[in-house]
Symmetry: C2
Subunit: 116 residues, 2 copies
Amino acid sequence: MTVCDNLLAETNACPPGSVLIVPEGDDARSAALLKVVADTTRLKILRIIAANGSVCACDLEAPLGLSQPTISHHLRQLFDAGAVTKEKRGTWAYYGINADGLQEINAPLVKLLSHS
Amino acid sequence: MTVCDNLLAETNACPPGSVLIVPEGDDARSAALLKVVADTTRLKILRIIAANGSVCACDLEAPLGLSQPTISHHLRQLFDAGAVTKEKRGTWAYYGINADGLQEINAPLVKLLSHS
DNA sequence: TGTCAATATTGATATCTGTCTATTCTCGAA
DNA sequence: TTCGAGAATAGACAGATATCAATATTGACA
């Protein structure tokens, strides 16, 4: 009776030396999308937008305490990832939550939870 | 009739100059937890664990193609963030999905979606 | 057309992080 | 108790990124 056999008998664990199932999936893409949301500043931006509806970029400078180029940089990342919508009104840029995009970003985590 | 007035009349957007609602929330902590999951290698680890149940760390080296210390480093991050469980059996270390922990990591995104 | 304001882009820099090699730690077994 | 194997830690280094200052772009309006 080897240690591995004991493991198999006593638990539902794969014994050492197992060839594991490796699910298909674009982890690089999923990670890249999650990275956009996994940032203090961008999370704050998203929550401000969610709480206020459509928000002018110009009004984010005060609550965030960051420079205009930095905020523009974050908003671009959020937009490129599909987390927010963007609408230009004259010289102003309005951003809103993109629920569909956020759901896609969130999908890998939801899938992990549904398979466990 | 200013441009701002037009905005208010035609849309539900905050006019430029608005003092925005800034929701409370520990964005730094949320971001730190999400960062752990927002990584190609760690996502792959999580999906392998989810597909195989309890997995020995020693069996991850082959499918990941990374060194043992690197994998140990990633597993520690996942464990510290509460994404996985850890059980030592002799010299082997077994890791499993921690559904509660993953749900907590996921919570900020779920909240964003529920408020929009 | 010319000017001003809001936004976007560029370039530079400091910090963070994923990876490796080398080493140490922790068990089980002889 | 000693040896060997798996896991964890430490230290180093390359690549990524958040930030800012400076500049360019775009659109409204006189």
